[in-house]
Structures are given as structure tokens and as C-alpha cells.
């Protein structure tokens, strides 16, 4: 286990060094891809070999839980797909060719921070690593050095840093609650915080959790703290958008879930779950409103991320085995599906030379195969069968029926229908609307680097929709039963 974790950390770290040392774009692409594939294999091996319970390693420094490992796997999958896609996509940015090694070093560093965060047994260090992900990814968002991307990067780092400072205050309060029983100095670990929760003052625990929920919720992109998300996701290069959406948001969600389990141990589970459910439902409301009237292709996908993180929040908020299993399945499906959508949006953006969906017309006439894959992805992301997200959303809805917050089930069902109509309306116009204007006629041929990753996400997504593998179900059940 230890060796695998070391491999997961050292390979990206060494790759960063090598990329910067060699400094050649073509070499950097393949070094980064190799690192991505190695870390995917390592994270798969890790999840297969680790017993499905809490494991504490390296003198209480590392914590392995099924949920944490699952998120590492999601990160690794998105990282591998994004690295593959980046090879084709980044070659199109001819102005930036000289800075490509820097891009790949940052991409690799971004993945590394997300591989580190879920293993941290100390909430404070987890916070610091999450902060580091912000710093690294802000440079990725601002990579294209245009007015919009500079603005997006700035908003991203300011809003998220302010949010995370709230989370830090919450962590200090949790530690303080512990000092009342364990004395002024003790090791701050998830386990310790959970063990002192039952005897801690209720008001303090609740305040601390709410601060953390708002703070990490900013990073997860829950409404109303989501304002950075559409900008950052739409202005970064498409592989970065996929990483932000499919990997980063899940990594931050892990912190909320772990603190929620501490609150549950303190006897305030219902209050915490309700708070999470309210934010999740609000995210659905906000994203539905903005999806209906959206014009930017990548902004549409970004608001869909707000929606899906809201659904995952609802899953964890409803709780129970079904809720947690549904939310975990949702994380994987969303990671796959949103990568597909961002890859497609990136391709179309380059082909039609515009970010505006009103310029992208008659996609099927120009790109019959890729167009169909993207369209299927759009059907999948709205939660229609037979794709993965349908399964996970139904599981979460069923969990909601059994939870005390039944009202949220009605809200969720209604808004999912609104989003289904709104989202697919844009696709109907893009596929069957008027012909594109002359200056936006697509002439580019999409290279296999840019289309193969789309297939690589669509196929597993369909399989996961038709068949929820029993071993995955068992894994989720165990993840729900052990402390997270």
C-alpha cells in the first residue's frame, strides 16, 4: 500500500522535474501522458489491494478510506483522459507552443495536489493541500493570457481563497472544541476530532461545520458560492476545464463529507445534512436558471457542473447507504460525462472559432461521428437513460424518499426536468438549427487525439448505465458503513 501511494506521488513529481528539465513540447506531452497512465494504474491497484475499512499509515500521517480512494481513482481517470486530449487540443494553440512544457508541468502538478489531498489524515494539512490546488489551477485557468482568462483566474483565486479562509476558521474551531477535553496540545486528525465530537458544545460544533460547509462549498461550487466556477471553467483550456470539473470538485467534496461525519458523531447529523441538502437544492435552482438562458458552450457545461455537484451534495445530505452509494457512483459518472462534454465543447469551439453556441450550427453536417458522440453525451448529462448518471440520480432520489428531507426530492425531480429541457434545447438548435454564417464555417479536421478520448468516456458511461456492477455496489456499501 505504502509503495503504491509513494508511486502515485513520486511519478507525477518526477515527471514535473523531467518536463521542466527537457523543456521540449513534444517530449512534455508524452511524459505527462505516461505519468497519467502510471498513476491511473497505481490508483486502481490501490483500490483493489486496500481492505475496505479505515487504514491509518505512516505514524498517523496517512488515512485511507474507501471514499478517499474512490476520489483518487476519479481524479486519476480524469487526469488520464485530459492528458490524452490535451495532446491534440494544445497543439492547436500555436501561439503558446513555446510555453507548452510549462502547461504540462502545471497540469501534472495540479493532478499531484489532488492525489495528495484525499490521503491527509490531518484536516489542517488537507486544507493546505486544497489551497495549493487553487494556486496551481489558477495559473492553468489563466494560461491563455487573454483578458478573459486573466479575469477568470483572478476571480477564481480571490473568491476561493476568501471561501477557504472561512473553512480554516471552522477547522480552528473544531480543534478548539477538542482542547476542552484532550488538553491544549493534541494531534489534529479526523479520528481525534470525531472522538471528541460527542462531548463538545453543540453550538460550537455547528458553527464550525457551517463555516467549513460554506468554505469548502465555495471550492465545490455549491450555490450561492459558485460564482467563480463558470468563469474559470469556461476560460481555461478544455483539458483544464475537465480536470477542474471532474476531479477538483470531488476532492473538495471529500472534506465536507468527512466533517459531516464528525458532526454526525456529535449528534448534530440532521442539522448538518439539512444544511448540505439546502445548498444542494439551491445549486440546482441556480444552475437550472442559468442553463436555460446560456449562450456560451463551455459556460453551459460549467453550470451543469454546479448542477451535478448539487446532486452529489444532495446524495451525501440524504445519507443512508443508498444516498452515499448514489453520490459516489454519481461522482464517477459525472467525471466521465463532464470530461466528454468539455472535450466536445473544446473541439467545437476550435472548429467554429467561437465560444458562442449561436455560432455552432449544423454540427452533424460537418462532424457526423463526433457530433453523435457529443449529442449522446448531452443526453447522458441531463440524466436520461441508458447512461450512468440516470442510475446514480435515481439512487439519490430513492435515498431522498427515505430521508427526513423529502421536500428536496420534489425540488430535485422538478429541476432535473427543467434542466433536461433547457440543456437539450441548446443542442437541438446546435444540431438542427439554421446553417452557420460564412465566417464561422468549420473547416478543421479533428485529429484522433481529440476524438478518441470522447469515445473512451462514452463507452464506460453506457456500460455503467446499463449495468451497475455488483462489486462496485459492494464497495459503496462498505464505504457507507465505515467512517469516512
Amino acid at each position: 500500500m505504502g509503495a503504491l501511494i509513494l508511486c502515485l506521488w513520486l511519478v507525477p513529481a518526477l515527471t514535473i522535474g523531467l518536463i521542466l528539465l527537457v523543456g521540449r513540447p513534444r517530449v512534455a506531452e508524452f511524459l505527462n501522458l505516461t505519468a497519467a497512465i502510471v498513476s491511473l494504474v497505481a490508483s486502481l491497484a490501490l483500490i483493489l489491494t486496500t481492505p475496505h475499512r479505515r487504514v491509518v499509515l505512516a505514524d498517523h500521517f496517512l488515512l485511507l478510506t474507501p471514499l478517499g480512494l474512490w476520489i483518487v481513482l476519479c481524479v486519476a481517470i480524469v487526469y488520464a483522459l485530459a492528458s490524452l486530449y490535451a495532446i491534440g487540443y494544445m497543439r492547436l494553440l500555436t501561439d503558446e507552443a513555446r510555453r507548452l512544457p510549462g502547461f504540462y508541468a502545471l497540469l501534472c502538478g495540479f493532478a499531484l495536489t489532488m492525489f495528495v489531498a484525499p490521503f491527509m489524515n490531518n484536516p489542517g494539512i488537507y486544507w493546505i493541500v486544497i489551497d495549493l490546488t487553487t494556486i496551481v489551477s489558477a495559473f492553468l485557468v489563466g494560461f491563455e493570457r487573454e483578458a478573459e482568462s486573466a479575469e477568470a483566474a483572478w476571480k477564481y483565486i480571490i473568491i476561493v481563497s476568501a471561501g477557504l479562509s472561512l473553512a480554516l476558521l471552522g477547522i480552528v474551531f473544531f480543534y478548539w472544541a477538542g482542547t476542552l477535553r484532550l488538553g491544549p496540545v493534541y494531534a489534529m486528525t479526523w479520528g481525534h476530532l470525531r472522538s471528541i465530537a460527542p462531548a463538545s458544545p453543540k453550538a460550537l460544533l455547528l458553527l464550525a461545520f457551517l463555516l467549513i460547509l460554506v468554505g469548502l462549498g465555495t471550492k465545490v461550487g455549491l450555490a450561492p458560492m459558485h460564482t467563480w466556477l463558470p468563469d474559470a471553467h469556461s476560460e481555461g483550456p478544455a483539458p483544464v476545464s475537465a480536470m477542474l470539473s471532474g476531479a477538483l470538485l470531488n476532492t473538495a467534496m471529500l472534506g465536507i463529507v468527512r466533517f459531516l461525519s464528525i458532526l454526525t458523531a456529535g449528534g448534530l447529523g440532521f442539522a448538518g445534512q439539512t444544511a448540505l441538502v439546502v445548498l444542494g437544492a439551491l445549486s440546482l435552482v441556480i444552475s437550472a436558471l442559468f442553463i436555460v438562458r446560456q449562450t456560451g458552450a463551455k459556460r453551459l457545461m460549467a453550470y451543469s457542473s454546479v448542477e451535478h455537484m448539487g446532486i452529489a451534495a444532495l446524495g451525501f445530505g440524504f445519507g443512508g447507504i443508498l444516498g452515499i452509494a448514489g453520490a459516489m457512483y454519481h461522482m464517477l459518472n459525472h467525471a466521465l460525462n463532464k470530461s466528454l462534454m468539455f472535450f466536445g465543447a473544446g473541439n467545437m469551439m476550435r472548429a467554429y472559432r467561437s465560444k458562442d453556441m449561436r455560432m455552432m450550427r449544423r454540427v452533424l453536417a460537418f462532424y457526423p461521428v463526433t457530433g453523435i458522440v457529443w449529442l449522446l453525451g448531452a443526453v447522458a448529462i441531463t440524466g436520461a437513460p441508458p447512461f450512468g448518471l440516470f442510475q446514480s440520480e435515481i439512487a439519490i432520489l430513492r435515498a431522498g424518499m427515505a430521508s427526513p428531507n423529502v421536500w428536496a426530492v420534489a425540488v430535485m425531480a422538478l429541476l432535473l426536468i427543467v434542466i433536461f429541457i433547457g440543456f437539450l434545447h441548446h443542442f437541438r438548435q446546435m444540431y438542427f438549427g439554421a446553417a452557420p454564417t460564412d465566417d464561422h464555417l468549420p473547416q478543421m479536421r479533428l485529429s484522433p487525439w481529440m476524438t478518441v478520448p470522447m469515445w473512451l468516456t462514452l463507452i464506460p458511461l453506457t456500460v455503467l448505465g446499463l449495468w451497475w456492477p455488483p462489486f462496485l455496489w459492494h464497495f459503496f456499501v462498505q464505504a457507507a458503513q465505515v467512517t469516512r
Binding site: G124, I128, W154, A162, S165, V172, L180
Partner: protein, 226 residues
């Protein structure tokens, strides 16, 4: 908690330092000259460094001396210097685009302090320690937090946003010195370091903004909406 068992003289020293920091944050809130703003921030950081040293001395936490020195060096000297240099480079002297007049923002700040006090008292009651320094420390901590957010909301210059964020972080440091002086040293060191990286990142991004967007005021950064 150690703070309840030390002599009243020390407690009043802690209280005084905490209140000075709170007043300095009002200086920042009321001043629209960036230089004054940065000086007040530096002074506030030095006050917090003194507080760390005092808590270390009276509470017998020798490692807090290290924190005090680092706070004075990093937050009290290096960060203000970096921000001052940034302001000079971008030729910024004052905040022109604030939403409220200084007087009104001060009044709003007072309201926030009252809210912070109410919350702190509520938590103090939960711990059966009303009317002690704990309530004061909590009040200062939450007030600095709220005032920092207020500064970020009311002002649109990028440097003011950074300073607002630093005030928020100062608040957390101030409170944690009194409430949890034993919080692991490593963690505090890393957080200090992390802050330095963030400010450097801000500096770089601000130069991007100036270069590619032609402005550093959020009032004119309105390309991305909806």
C-alpha cells in the same frame, strides 16, 4: 483551557493587544489611501506577533516565540513590502471606486462587530465562560473576519482585495493564538508559508490583469457574466 488559569495582568495585556488589532482594522476600513492601509496592516501584524510572544511567555509555549518572529518577519515586513512594491509598480495611490464613504463604512463595521459579539457570547454561554477573554478573542476574530469581507465587498481595486483577505487571515491568527495556543506548530508554519505563496501568486496575476485586461479594478472586469 490555560487562558482561564493565568493571572489577570496577562489577561488584560492579551485583551489590550486584541483590541488594538481590532482598532487597526477600523483604520484600514476608514482609509482610502493604499499606503496608510498597508501600514495599518503591517502594524496589525506586529501587534499579533507581540500577542503570540506574550501568550508564549505567560502560557509557557516556547514554540510561540518562533511563530511570533515569523509573523513579524512575514506578515509584518515581507508581505507589506511586497504589496507596497506592487502598488508602486501599478501606480496606485488610493481607492477611487469604493461603494460607500469612509464614514458609512465605519458605521457598517461597527454593526459587524456587534454581530460578532452576539455570536461570541452565544458560544461563550455554551462553554459556561461568559464575560471572559474568550468572548473577547472570539469577538475580535469574527469581527476581523467580517471587516475583511466588508473591505473586499466595498472596494474594487485588486490590491484592496488582497488586503481584505490578509485581514481575514490576521483575524484567524489572532484568535487562534488565544484560543488554541497549542495548535501544532508545523501547521501554523505551513499556513504562514502558504500565505506567502498566495500573495506572490496574487502579484503575478495582477500583472497579467494589468497587461491583458488593462485594469486591476473589478469595476471594469465585467467581461464574464451570466
Amino acid at each position: 483551557m490555560f487562558i482561564l488559569h493565568i493571572n489577570p495582568l496577562a489577561t488584560s495585556l492579551f485583551s489590550m493587544l486584541a483590541i488594538i488589532s481590532l482598532i487597526l482594522s477600523f483604520v484600514m476600513l476608514g482609509s482610502h489611501w493604499l499606503k496608510n492601509h498597508i501600514y495599518a496592516f503591517a502594524l496589525e501584524s506586529w501587534t499579533i506577533a507581540c500577542l503570540s510572544a506574550a501568550v508564549g511567555y505567560f502560557g509557557h509555549y516556547p514554540e510561540l516565540y518562533v511563530i511570533a518572529i515569523l509573523t513579524a518577519l512575514f506578515r509584518g515586513s515581507l508581505l507589506p513590502y511586497l504589496i507596497l512594491r506592487l502598488a508602486d509598480k501599478l501606480h496606485l495611490e488610493r481607492e477611487f471606486t469604493s461603494v460607500l464613504k469612509p464614514a458609512s463604512s465605519l458605521v457598517l463595521g461597527t454593526v459587524l462587530v456587534i454581530i460578532a459579539f452576539v455570536v461570541a457570547r452565544k458560544i461563550g454561554h455554551g462553554l459556561h465562560t461568559a464575560d471572559t477573554i474568550i468572548v473577547l478573542a472570539l469577538t475580535c476574530m469574527l469581527s476581523l473576519k467580517l471587516i475583511g469581507f466588508l473591505m473586499m465587498i466595498l472596494r474594487s481595486e485588486a490590491i484592496s482585495h488582497i488586503l481584505g483577505l490578509l485581514v481575514i487571515e490576521n483575524g484567524i491568527f489572532l484568535g487562534s493564538q488565544i484560543l488554541v495556543p497549542g495548535m501544532p506548530l508545523l501547521l501554523e508554519l505551513v499556513i504562514l508559508f502558504d500565505l506567502l505563496i498566495i500573495v506572490l501568486t496574487f502579484g503575478m496575476l495582477m500583472r497579467y490583469l494589468q497587461m491583458h485586461a488593462g485594469t486591476t479594478s473589478s469595476r471594469y472586469l465585467q467581461k464574464l457574466v451570466g
